[in-house]
Amino acid sequence: MVTTDFSTELVRSCADMVILTLLGDKPMHGYDILLSLGSLGNGQFRLKQGTLYPLLYRLEREGWISAKWETPPQGKKRKVYRLTAEGKKVQQNRALEWKRFTASINSIMRDIADE
């Protein structure tokens, strides 16, 4: 059976890196993050709201992102998250690791398919 959703474990293992990458691009509030996930890539990497908030609180606790309530000139008060300097380092390391990881997995799968 082919499903359109990724497994929970797979999403969870990559969620930190995805959120850090998104916030590295620009500061965002929680709902903005969900909307961005829906529109970026092929829109298949989705997080439930119930998964997003604990994840954001953990990243904040670890010091990789910071949160601040902000009221834009037009619009309502929002809690905006931004990447910290330490978070940027973590994101860069994870991104490099991810590239090596996917290259390695792809290589294994290609080799098996060629046999």
Partner: protein
Amino acid sequence: MSNSVSELVQNYFDELESALKLSSTQRRDMVDEIRGNAIDKIADLCRAGVPEADAVSQTLDDLGSPSQLAQSIRQESPPFHSPVATTLRGVGAVAAVGIALYCGLAFRASFYGPSWTFYIGLVGVFLPLVLLLWPKVVWRVNWLFSFIPVAVVFAAILLAATLGTNYSENLTTQPALASNKTTDLSTTNSWIQLSILLCLAALTGYLLLMVQQVRQRKIVCGLTLVAVAIIETPFLIEEYLVRNLVNQVSAFQKRNGTLPTPQEFSRLPPPQLLSLNSVDYRPSTSTSAFTLSMDRQLFPSHRIIYRGPVGDFVVTD
């Protein structure tokens, strides 16, 4: 929003707020954020043509049940973080630093010269307490994973200390046994002391690794070094000055062939920060040795003594 739908949303967030079991500020902050985003999502879905009731149901389903969401959030929130607990922990941490400084100064006054084992013991005892108490420390895994090893190591140390005491008491109450076991006792005590120090050093290293933020780790290490410097510096200066005075007496003796008399001693150029009036100088009449002693300036209950015949420095109380 219709009344029934609005009530449904309100009930959800009331339930979430009460299930969070965090401080009122934290609860309010989290619920306000999640509610605000949920309302935006409901509005977007409605604009996309989804009936309001379905939009609400879809949004709340996406959040999961209030108890599940609260549990996931609680798992990410460190324990003992209510405002009262945070204040108490902050006060406790500051008190622990104060006690550590006082104990450090008091113990350092009781011996001569710097000792790395003393600082491993001091840092190993107080740093874990300060780290666990300080509410701003972000732990790599969970506060409990830091608390449990501290409790286990401290309990083990207490046990080791108790065993050591009983062993020494047995030996002192049974002199016959004591005479045979003197070497064993000193070896046993050395091993107990060494293992305690190793435990404390390992615990300190482990806790520092468990501190998540590199910045916090650097601050902790930096402040620890500052505390060690605060404790060590006055004693190092004092000991340097006393040593300098002893060297002056020896130089006088070399120059003149005899030790200076107390009157001559009082006319020696005094080292800076040290008053010769506070120094008790006693030349020996029979030998060419002298003793020199003075009260510790920070802890006058302790006295530094230079024992000329042996040529070493000791501290007595």
